[in-house]
């Protein structure tokens, strides 16, 4: 006899179920509850927290709740986008785990009726012996799936820390486009329609993967769950995508739902609940890959590459025609009726019948614990005056978090689809979507170290970092998606940190008026009591004013002025790469959000008319600080012929050039427009400081009291290969 523990439910949840149903559930029903009331499917620990995030905005077409958020890009096009995590599966089987993660998020986009056009991956790995092999497998898997079905990887982020040794993070952002006005989702099913399951034959893959594997910490006892991994089939994924888009594009289906975690169980229950209808599903109709699969197994299998369609009878023939064209296996597995229930049958036998209002709608949520945040503003600087050493420049560029990523991104196809104007060799992706303007600007940020000590400040910083990246292109942010990764929510510390992280994200999203239209929460990233840092992966999609001519992120010639936009008045190294190198990492500093807001607005206003004010280039300052931003601008030009001469105030030191306070930019301006920039503080209310000029000799020179010189070729070596080159 199956018990509540077997399906991962607590005793109180078990009681709750009995009370709500007025009877004991049978085994199959218990299995359904186990899946849908799991952390992974129900978001029971985080839902009340996520409710604090702002969802409304002038561009929002579809907020959270659907398979993906949708925002309006232009009169013709909407953009669907969302981040998804596949952390646990990727640790167990890096290649297939990552590949199926990509497959899953792409199906979310497709289920919104949007054609995927871009992928970005946000990866965190440990620093132990196992890490390189995990990274290798994950990168292989991400490329093998997304690129195979024709979607380019256009940007990403990669970071390292020992806290990810046993819990690497694999988050993937997928972005798709659909015609404005197309309405598709899981909420349109109408009584009388038939349910069609299309795609891969159902097998015993990943049974209870989500409810058990992703909703528990790792430890010795999870070892035996390993055979629950799934294998991705991008070939089938591509056929499934094309067939679904064809069906949806012609308006043949009234509802679409992909099969992800908890397979048929969640897709049928959620479709029924979202559409306020009843569903009758006959498991004996489901095409199985293996013999003698039990109804329990069929309902809980997590076989990939499947999609559920609800099709009005009069469209059935047309849909079957599309499926035949793509040679896609399919079965009519049930029908939509009026009511509030999910009934599972096998032939003429009723196996389960549950009200969806209970199954989906009544999972007890954990209340938000208020005012537990331990955070005091205005901490003193982590490092008092510390001078500046040339060694630090090489150490920072050679740090794993800063180092050149070409060995990763060259393993992805970044150009397929011919929309990629700027790909992964830049800090942000720029894509054209045909017919000139506007285009799309996509950026991700996941600055984990910032949240290590103060996850509220880290959450704010992550959003600011992502917004700063698209602002450097003068792009208007349309919406945010957030991937939250944290430890075991049943414990005080991890819960508190997750709560603060979400609050920080919400605070920033509210202040900058960019809605969060969807995201993902991955909990239990914890092994033997060791939790990861609370880590937010933020993705932003923005409207690019001029995608065929992105403003440069490097200076064109010698003689160009270098300005700092919004440099912090009190630079603080907290959370920075340099502080970590010096063994002094501490909490991330408090940002001046109003000043940042002014700068963001300024860039969006000025960049579309950059020529008229002599603005030649712009780059956001991020990890590695101003120093890295300037050095990157120079190193990425071929041949490396330009340098920079930075002349700073006499008391400026490492804190000024290596702080990672988000919301600062480096600007390259034509000296002829000096007077505009000299007065920009008065005319536009932003802080701009002249910090030097571009030279014709390939080196970075900083003068602040004394002078230090970094030959670009040495910086390049550190950036390419890591390690330290000492002062000559």
């Amino acid at each position: 006899m199956l018990t509540h523990q077997d399906v991962g439910l607590s005793a109180s949840e078990d009681q709750e179920i009995v009370q709500l149903l007025g009877r004991r559930p049978n085994e199959l029903e218990l299995g359904l509850f186990g899946a849908l009331w799991s952390e992974h499917c129900s978001y029971k620990s985080s839902k009340n927290l996520l409710a604090q995030l702002p969802h409304q905005g002038q561009f929002v077409v579809q907020g959270p709740g659907g398979n993906a958020g949708v925002v309006q890009l232009s009169a013709d096009w909407d953009i669907a986008f969302k981040i998804e995590s596949h952390n646990h599966p990727s640790f167990v089987e890096p290649l297939q785990g990552a590949a199926t993660g990509v497959g899953g998020i792409l199906r979310d986009i497709v289920a919104m009726g949007a054609r995927p056009i871009a992928i970005a991956d946000i990866l965190k790995f440990g620093v132990n012996e196992q890490a390189p092999a995990l990274l290798h497998g994950v990168v292989e898997g991400i490329g093998a799936y997304g690129n195979a079905i024709g979607i380019p990887n256009v940007t990403g982020s990669l970071g390292f820390s020992a806290v990810y040794d046993a819990n690497p993070l694999v988050n993937v952002l997928a972005v798709g486009m659909r015609r404005h006005g197309l309405q598709v989702g899981a909420d349109g099913a109408r009584p009388g329609s038939v349910l069609i399951l299309i795609g891969q034959g159902t097998g015993r893959d990943g049974i209870h993967g989500a409810s058990l594997l992703a909703s528990r910490d790792f430890g010795a006892e999870t070892e035996e769950m390993r055979p629950t991994v799934q294998v991705g089939d991008p070939f089938m994924g591509k056929l499934l995508m094309e067939a679904t888009l064809a069906v949806v594009g012609k308006g043949f289906a009234d509802a679409v739902q992909d099969l992800g975690a908890a397979g048929l169980t969640s897709s049928t229950a959620e479709l029924a609940y979202a559409s306020s209808v009843g569903l009758i599903v006959d498991v004996s109709k489901v095409i199985c890959r293996e013999q003698n699969m039990s109804p329990y197994e069929i309902m809980l299998s997590e076989t990939q590459e499947r999609m559920l369609l609800s099709v009005p009878k009069q469209n059935l023939a047309s849909v079957l025609e599309v499926l035949a064209w793509y040679e896609l296996p399919y079965a009519e597995i049930g029908r939509v009726v009026a009511g509030d229930f999910l009934r599972i049958e096998a032939g003429d036998q009723v196996l389960a019948e549950l009200p969806t209002s209970v199954l989906v709608g009544s999972c007890p949520r954990l209340p938000v614990m208020h005012d537990v945040r331990i955070w005091d503003a205005g901490q003193p600087s982590v490092l008092e005056k510390i001078g500046l050493q040339s060694r630090w420049g090489y150490q920072v560029l050679g740090h794993p978090d800063c180092r050149n990523r070409s060995s990763v991104y060259q393993r992805y196809d970044s150009m397929i689809g011919t929309r990629t104007v700027w790909g992964p060799e830049h800090d942000v992706a720029v894509m054209h979507i045909g017919n000139g303007k506007p285009g799309l600007c996509i950026a991700v940020a996941a600055p984990a170290r910032w949240a290590a000590y103060d996850s509220y400040a880290g959450g704010i910083g992550a959003v600011v970092a992502a917004l700063s990246l698209v602002a450097a292109q003068g792009a208007v942010p349309l919406g945010l998606t957030d991937g939250i990764n944290a430890g075991n929510p049943a414990k005080f510390e991890p819960y508190r940190k997750m709560a603060d992280l979400i609050r920080g994200i919400g605070k920033a999203a509210e202040i900058f008026e960019v809605p969060v239209t969807g995201g993902n929460v991955s909990l239990h990233n914890e092994t033997e009591g060791q939790a990861i840092w609370p880590t937010a992966a933020i993705g932003v999609v923005a409207r690019h004013p001029n995608p065929e001519h992105p403003i440069a992120d490097a200076p064109p010639d010698a003689g160009v002025r270098i300005l700092a936009l919004n440099p912090p008045a009190n630079p603080d190294l907290g959370g920075s790469v340099l502080a970590e190198i010096l063994g002094r990492s501490d909490r991330y500093p408090v940002l001046d959000l109003r000043a940042i807001q002014h700068s963001l607005r300024f860039l969006v206003e000025i960049i579309p008319q950059a020529e008229t004010v002599g603005l030649l280039g712009c780059r956001a300052v991020g990890i590695g600080g101003l120093f890295f931003a300037v050095a990157k601008s120079l190193m990425t030009k071929t041949p490396m012929a330009l340098g920079a001469n930075l002349v700073l105030a006499g008391d400026a030191d490492a804190r000024f050039v290596f702080n990672e306070m988000a919301g600062q930019w480096v600007l390259f301006v034509d000296p002829e427009f000096q007077s505009f920039w000299d007065h920009v503080s008065e005319t536009h209310g932003v802080s701009v400081v002249d910090i030097g000029w571009v030279t014709g000799s390939p080196e970075v020179v900083i003068t602040a009291g004394r002078s230090l010189t970094w030959p670009l070729i040495d910086l390049w070596r550190a950036y390419r290969k890591g390690g330290v080159r000492d002062v000559r």
Binding site: D205, V231, F235, R289
Partner: protein, 85 residues
């Protein structure tokens, strides 16, 4: 020390989806071969030095478990033969 040839056959565990086998089967059927099932795995040959044939086999067993197969989804068989160049 003598050299031995270890031959590994590595396949996907029963029940694990084999997309390559599935696609190959479909094509063979289209070509009008009377084919029911295709599974694709790896064939690995390793030349190893060991004292005895039994020791070589034991080493092979260990290599198979540790690195040549992923126990999460694969099984393997290993056989040993004498090897002259």
């Amino acid at each position: 020390m003598t050299q031995f040839r270890l031959t590994f056959l590595v396949g996907l565990k029963a029940g694990i989806l084999d997309p390559a086998g599935q696609a190959t089967r479909n094509v063979l059927q289209h070509m009008e071969y009377q084919v029911d099932d295709v599974r694709i795995g790896k064939w690995i040959q390793v030349i190893v030095s060991a004292k005895t044939k039994d020791q070589a086999l034991a080493i092979g067993q260990e290599m198979g478990e540790r690195i040549l197969s992923n126990p999460v989804m694969e099984y393997f068989e290993v056989t040993v033969q004498a090897y002259e160049q």
